[in-house]
């Protein structure tokens, strides 16, 4: 059984993580990366884009849920379950890519640049889930 019952849960939990991160030091790292990343999820179908390339003035980045009308630098595709486990810090990124559980398309240097950026989110995600009353998903 999938972790998220529909796209709105994906946006609440994983999209919410990115919104929650806006107030954390992590936001500055994302902003400094100056890249845009689209996460395509399946089961349930959903998509979240984090754009640090063209953010609004004063904001570190913009979050889009669903379709977008520009080409992101990096596209990462995976099941929403894998994404959930990934943000919990329970998925080895390199192994997931090797096994085909994740696919990444885009300039390698941009993808490499993402790694130090996203690392702090692993601690933030379970904390955020508890804050929104979804501690059940941290197990």
């Amino acid at each position: 059984m999938a972790v998220f019952k529909d796209a709105s849960e994906v946006y609440l939990c994983i999209g919410g993580l990115f919104r929650r991160a806006l107030t954390e030091p992590l936001a500055q790292k994302v902003s400094d990366s100056k890249i845009s990343v689209r996460f395509n999820y399946s089961d349930p179908d959903s998509a979240i884009t984090v754009d640090a390339k063209n953010p609004p003035p004063g904001e570190p980045y913009t979050i889009y849920e669903g379709d977008i009308n520009f080409k992101p630098d990096v596209v990462m595709s995976m099941k929403a379950d894998v994404a959930h486990q990934f943000w919990l810090g329970k998925v080895n990124l390199v192994a997931a890519l090797a096994k085909g559980q994740m696919k990444a398309v885009g300039p390698i240097q941009s993808i490499i640049k993402l790694i130090p950026v996203i690392k702090p989110a692993f601690e933030l995600y379970p904390q955020y889930l508890k804050e929104i009353g979804r501690a059940d998903l941290t197990q």
């Binding site: 080895n92 990124l93 390199v94 997931a96 090797a98 390698i108 490499i112 130090p116």
Partner: protein
């Protein structure tokens, strides 16, 4: 006669100045394939007591055999299979020494008509070995002696020779001297350059136009096409091409594998930014190179224009070197790292052991165990790239303090008295490569039981834990967690068999070859040789090779007591993703010994030896009674020999 091979070895007796061709033993080809596996079988003959007595070659004496061996895929169109192995008894560890090298020398040795070279004896004067399309001869090298490896390369390469040479460090018997091919490809580990130096063999140069015979060329060609197409989709191979092995700096963040300040710290944000792949590309990268027949191009070309770290355009540092001279010493300047890499390549020094020995010296200095009076006046403070550069040059020349450091960190530590081994980062005398077993617990077992001292390349355990080795048909898959000891003994046993077969016997590159399945590797082997190996037999070959090397090490006095990890790996890191974690090495070892059927002394059980068809050679490799690797201080030289 199996195809895939040229069918002969060149045996060189430098003492007698005699060269002879040896036919390849067909039974051994089937059972050891090539590379370090086949080399181990030939080497075992040299360990054998000729008169039944305890004949054990002195690593730097004339009886030590230095063997250069290719695999059956070298020189064929199969991609990422151009590597060859250099083996000998290591002057750094006193046990089996092995180093794998890429580039072009292996294929061109076969084009010159030979699968391998066995060198014994020692010449009275400097010589080099030239093999010119099937004709081999020893030539005077008086005018080459003292040249660095780039100068030797420049002397020969314009005439189409492929060059394997030692630098001044090998001539001066630095115990971690390397052998350098084409300026960029290095047999770094174990001090095999010093073995060449002890024989006064400055270089081996080869050229030729012979073709490698193949049993089934069509299959090799098909596999090549398929692998090249797959490689275009592989993020791993794209990463190797774009960022090189330096991508490990960034990837290390995922698991906490960032050895810093002689392994005391596990997270260094400034170092990550300064030394990582993106800044490397932005500051020093000027191009990329590749090995024979490999579409990946993971090799870096760099240039530094400004003093004090000026480097002419040439081979750039790879991950291990960046970590050894960068994070290990807390030097955050990629230009300084490139300079130290350049010195090591030219002079012929292993960058891992050199950086590890420097880091040890820096900590000894910090602890007050040594001072400026010991270091020729140099102050060894973390991050001082100038001091590191100066010491690297002195090690190569064996000058002053560099003479002592040129013995390696373990022998240096023995001069410092009690407690000095608390921060010594070696296994069996070999400095640990820059991956932290507190971040990948199975790696602790790999280090402890490797056939050549600390090595992350003796099997595929490290790559499996990192996530890069996914070869289900060889039983190698990334574990659920790198940071647990659960299940790691079984993983290591499988990954070791696979690694010994793929990287050891078949001489396949772990990087470019990371997309090759077990079935494809075996198909390529069979297509080259005409053998009918199954995947199962291939894995048994890996086990046979590891067991033979274990028997050889037993003959050199190695026991279970030597299967250990540095004390620091039992201390948790204070920071980073691996903070607070240590591997349970005792449990892993106990499980591993059981799986591998090793007895109380650490030697393979006779039933396992028989199952693997090693009884004939095992009877001649009886374990030494006395441990041969005791160190002593020479009162006059101040060295530990």
């Amino acid at each position: 006669m199996a195809t895939g091979y040229m069918g002969r070895l060149l045996r060189v007796d430098l003492s007698a100045g005699r060269l002879e061709d040896l036919p390849l033993d067909q039974d051994w080809l089937r059972r050891y394939i090539g590379g370090s596996g086949l080399a181990a079988r030939y080497f075992a003959e040299a360990v054998r007591p000729a008169d039944g007595g305890p004949a054990r070659p002195d690593p730097l004496g004339p009886d030590n055999e230095l063997i250069i061996m290719t695999g059956p895929l070298a020189g064929t169109p199969f991609p990422s299979a151009s590597r060859f192995n250099v083996v000998a008894r290591s002057p750094l560890s006193g046990i089996w020494g092995e180093s794998s090298v890429g580039g072009f020398f292996g294929p061109h040795l076969k084009f010159a008509g030979y699968d391998g070279i066995v060198v014994t004896g020692a010449s009275e004067r400097p010589v080099y070995l030239a093999i010119d399309d099937g004709r081999a001869e020893l030539r005077d090298a008086s005018d080459l002696w003292g040249l660095d490896t780039y100068e030797v390369h420049a002397r020969f390469s314009p005439d189409g020779w492929r060059v394997l040479a030692i630098g001044p460090a090998g001539e001066r018997l630095v115990r971690f001297a390397s052998i350098v091919h084409d300026r960029a490809h290095v047999a770094g580990r174990g001090g095999l350059g010093a073995v060449m130096g002890s024989k006064r063999l400055k270089a081996v140069v080869v050229r030729g136009r012979q073709e490698v015979p193949l049993a089934d060329r069509a299959t090799i060609d098909r596999l090549r096409r398929e692998l090249i197409e797959r490689g275009k989709e592989s993020l791993t191979l794209q990463t190797y091409r774009e960022v090189g092995t330096i991508s490990s700096i960034e990837l290390s963040l995922m698991v906490g594998d960032m050895p810093t300040k002689n392994w005391r710290e596990g997270l260094w944000e400034e170092g990550l930014q300064a030394l990582g792949g993106n800044n490397y590309n932005a500051t020093i990268l000027t191009g990329r190179r590749t090995c024979f027949g490999c579409p990946v191009s993971c090799k870096r070309v760099v240039r530094v224009d400004d003093q004090p770290y000026r480097v002419e355009q040439g081979p750039g540092p790879e991950y291990e070197t960046v970590a050894a001279f960068g994070t290990g010493l807390r030097v955050d300047n990629p230009r300084a790292v490139a300079r130290m890499n350049d010195i090591c390549n030219r002079q012929g020094l292993d960058t891992i052991s050199c950086g590890g020995t420097l880091a040890y010296a820096f900590e000894a200095y910090e602890r007050g165990l040594i001072g400026p009076a010991d270091t020729d006046g140099l102050e060894l403070n973390w991050g001082d790239a100038g001091a590191a550069v100066a010491l690297t040059q002195r090690i190569a020349r064996r000058e002053g303090f560099g003479k002592l450091l040129g013995e390696g960190s373990q022998r240096f530590a023995a001069t410092l008295g009690p407690g000095a081994d608390e921060f010594l980062m070696t296994v069996k005398g070999v400095e640990v490569p820059y991956h932290d077993p507190r971040a990948m617990h199975g790696l602790a077992l790999q280090y402890a039981t490797s056939d050549r001292g600390a090595s992350h390349l003796s099997g595929l355990t490290f790559y499996a834990e990192l996530g890069m080795a996914y070869i289900p048909d060889l039983g190698v898959e990334p574990p659920d967690s790198a940071q647990t000891s659960d299940g790691k003994a079984a993983l290591h046993a499988r990954a070791q068999d696979a690694g010994q077969a793929l990287g050891g016997a078949l001489a396949l590159c772990y990087a470019g070859g990371s997309i090759v399945t077990g079935e494809e590797a075996v198909a390529a082997l069979n297509a080259a040789t005409g053998f009918d190996h199954s995947v199962e037999e291939f894995l048994t070959t890996g086990r046979r090779i590891w067991t033979l090397k274990r028997l050889i090490n037993g003959a050199f006095g190695m026991t279970r007591a030597d299967d250990r990890i540095p004390a620091r790996f039992r201390e948790p890191l204070p920071d980073g993703p691996a903070a607070g974690l240590v591997p349970d090495i005792e449990r892993q070892l106990a499980e591993y010994y059981s799986l591998m059927q090793l007895d109380e002394s650490g030697q393979p059980d006779p039933s396992e030896v028989e199952r693997l068809g090693l009884s004939d050679v095992a009877s001649c490799l009886a374990p030494a009674k006395a441990h041969p690797r005791r160190h002593r201080v020479d009162a006059q030289e101040g060295l530990v020999l």
